[in-house]
Amino acid sequence: MRKALPYLLSLPALLMCIGILIPFFTAVYYSMLRYRLNLPAMKGFIWFDNYINFFTDPKFWNTLKISLIYAGLTVVLELILGLVIALLLQKRSRVNNFVSILLLLPLMTAPALAALMWKLMTNPNFGILSYLVSLIGFPDMKWGSDPSTALFTVVLVDMWVYTPFMMILLLAGLRSLPTAPFEAAALDGVPRSFVFFRITLPMLMPYLLTATLFRLLDSIQQFDIIYAMTQGGPGDKLLVFQVQAYLDFFQATNVGRSAALMIILWAITYFLSNIFIKQWLKLRERAHGAA
């Protein structure tokens, strides 16, 4: 009984998800087909040709590059900003608690709708943000429609929506840190920067990793914000994985190519999260070994 218990506890959750594995493997099979719904005569099993074709396709490399840049930028910026906000709100007080909930509002706005509103707010004619930046000397800011500012614009919207996610996880982490080391450091007169980098950050690391992992998995798969703001344009500036695969599937009905693209995206996220989780487990071991 003692031995079976953990299996019994995790089994229902696993079973619930196992059903998803079947469609997943179906998709793996699709990715090895030349399979375009509106060219049924062309359908055939081609092993890894869809994947091999990507290697010589500059558009694919562009997609890979943009997706990684987007994910990297948003995660790093949101992590820093989220940590700063969490530190600002660390002290328990009524105001801080209220502000922390208030700051969750952007996260509660569906990204597809948030993007629609941002698109209006950045419209050169009617947009309040365009108007405001024109007052401070940028009368011709073109936001998402200009190749040089498109990435900045979608990253900004992503930060607005998802930084609160980072913030709340890190805040929970900060507040759950044991107080003893900090009291000791304060008594010894240890410099604050030293405390932050040598005590706070390492102890917060598991939370940082969890928050980063979840954001990274979401961000590299971003669709709603980018598609609603620019549809992957201007040009091919924001043609990230999900946008390209969406167009391949829903517009071109190119099931084979779309599935192959998604499998690659899945492999990337699998690889990245493996690294993170290994690190996370190691930290856990160390923390618990020390305690």
Binding site: R36, L39, N123, P124, N125, S145, P147, M229, G235, T253
Partner: protein, 479 residues
């Protein structure tokens, strides 16, 4: 009737009308409107019921997949007429336009039989048809046992009938003898100029007559109006950027998207004529288009015209029509003009978007579905929608000749009938029907964006684009 009611409520809100008065007057209106509705339904039923067993599928129920659109609203407003006529019932799922075609693709690709018929654009049937998701409607239209004798299929504008039929061969001519009728035209839009008359008067310009004038007039408007820009056209990274004004002007110069030789397709966007047109178009956007043109879809183009941010659009005529009503700031200020980009062309050649009805091939009750479809595309319903609702543009010649409809349009939309009549003979789909339509047309828009952003020069960009398209055509076994 709607205006009257709205006026009443406004008066009530502004305290001009007491609650008692409001209730009494709306009651009267409601009663008379209801009575009128019943009378109209009866008249329709009587006219249609002769010589055909409309009650054959009495008791059955069809389910429709609809886009949230005034055409669907017009149908729903008249659905009692269908129920009375056939004894059938109808239900529907309406999805917002933003996600509508995703829903259609999801439903059809899973082989779902939930929906019997659905709304679609003609371009989409180039995917749905070869994929085997929709039924060739010739089997129904040409069968007197299935189609009522008063259906009068030939009354549907010939360009639209042809544009919705295709033999399924990549590059095959639309409306050829061996073509399959993939869908029934329901309502359509053609592309011409809609413009703000007070703005034109202020600057002292007339609606342009060709592309050179369009550039000139838009530039002057942008410069002299001091605020609003000259001409609104779409620019988002989507096939939808190509099909309205852009392709209409492009086709007017006799330019093609693809050439077909021995059944092989080849991109034709890099001819000298095409390059010249692209150069002008790009220049027009850079000089007098919206600042954030690359964001522009149907909605932005329309919103700007309606809110007075733009002086003119080269887009769907019904977009200009919608912006002349509602709570738009510029309502009542808009005019309409036909537009032939090529000074040497005899008439405009507007490319068209056709909202159509198609039949789900996996549907379980196709004959009953066809009963709905022939009713929804009948002269009677078309007339109802054109007179009472915004079922515009109607697809039937007889409706365009209806005095009541003409009077309604002429009164509130000056120049609309004229722009339609001048350009209707040349109105059809100017794209080549082929399975890669969405991929390649989106690629076209992507390159247009790069040209407007000055990331690539026009001529070189078009050569590169044509090469890339040819390669994709070969990969798909089409080139």
């Amino acid at each position: 009737m709607y205006d009257k009611e709205k006026g009443l409520f406004e008066a009530f809100v502004k305290n001009k009308l007491s609650r008692r008065e409001l209730l009494r007057t709306t009651g009267k209106l409601g009663l008379s409107a209801g009575a009128a509705g019943i009378l109209l339904t009866q008249a329709q039923t009587n006219a249609m019921a002769s010589d055909f067993d409309w009650m054959k599928y009495k008791g059955s129920k069809v389910k429709l997949l609809l886009n949230k659109h005034p055409y669907a609203d017009a149908m729903i407003a008249n659905i009692e007429a269908f129920k009375t006529l056939t004894g059938m019932d109808a239900s529907w799922d309406i999805f917002p336009e933003d996600v509508y075609f995703d829903k259609v693709t999801a439903a059809l690709s899973s082989g779902s039989s939930e929906y019997d018929a659905f709304m679609t654009g003609a371009y989409m049937t180039w995917t749905y048809g070869p994929a085997g998701w929709i039924t060739d409607l010739n089997e129904y239209i040409k069968d007197p046992a299935k189609t009522n004798p008063n259906y009068n299929w030939d009354d549907v504008l010939p360009g639209l009938r042809a544009s919705t039929s295709w033999n399924g061969v990549p590059g095959g001519e639309l409306g050829s003898a061996d073509a399959k009728q993939w869908c029934i035209p329901w309502g359509f839009e053609l592309n011409n100029l809609s413009y703000n008359k007070p703005m034109f008067d202020k600057v002292g310009v007339q609606p342009p007559k060709n592309l050179a004038e369009l550039l000139e007039v838009s530039a002057k408007l942008t410069k002299d109006l001091g605020g609003p820009y000259g001409v609104g056209v779409r620019g988002s990274r989507s096939w939808a950027t190509i099909h309205p004004g852009f392709l209409s002007g492009y086709a007017n110069f006799g330019e093609r998207d693809f050439t077909v030789n021995d059944g092989k397709l080849k991109a034709a966007m890099n001819t000298a004529g095409s390059k010249a047109f692209h150069r002008d178009w790009v220049k027009m956007i850079q000089e007098s288009g919206p600042k954030d043109w690359a964001n522009y879809t149907w909605y932005q183009v329309g919103t700007d015209l309606g809110a007075g941010a733009s002086a003119m659009i080269f887009d769907a005529d019904i977009l200009g029509y919608f912006m002349n009503g509602g709570d738009n700031k510029e309502k009542g200020n808009l005019g309409y003009a036909p537009f032939a980009a090529n000074p040497a062309a005899a008439a405009p050649t507007p490319n068209v978007w056709i909202w159509s009805l198609a039949m789900n091939n996996a549907g379980a009750q196709k004959d009953a579905a066809w009963y709905f479809m022939q009713w929804a595309s009948s002269v009677e319903h078309d007339l109802f929608g054109a007179r009472k609702m915004d079922f515009v543009n109607p697809v039937r010649a007889s409706v365009w000749n209806d005095d009541e409809f003409r009077a309604r349009i002429d009164k509130s939309y000056p120049g609309y009938l004229n722009q339609y009549e001048v350009s209707a003979p040349g109105a059809k789909i100017y794209f080549t029907a082929q399975p890669l339509f969405f991929d390649l047309t989106t690629l076209w828009a992507e390159n247009l964006q790069k040209m407007v952003a000055k990331e690539i020069p026009v001529d070189e960009g078009l050569d590169k684009m044509a090469t890339e398209m040819d390669q994709k055509l070969v990969e798909a076994g089409l080139g």
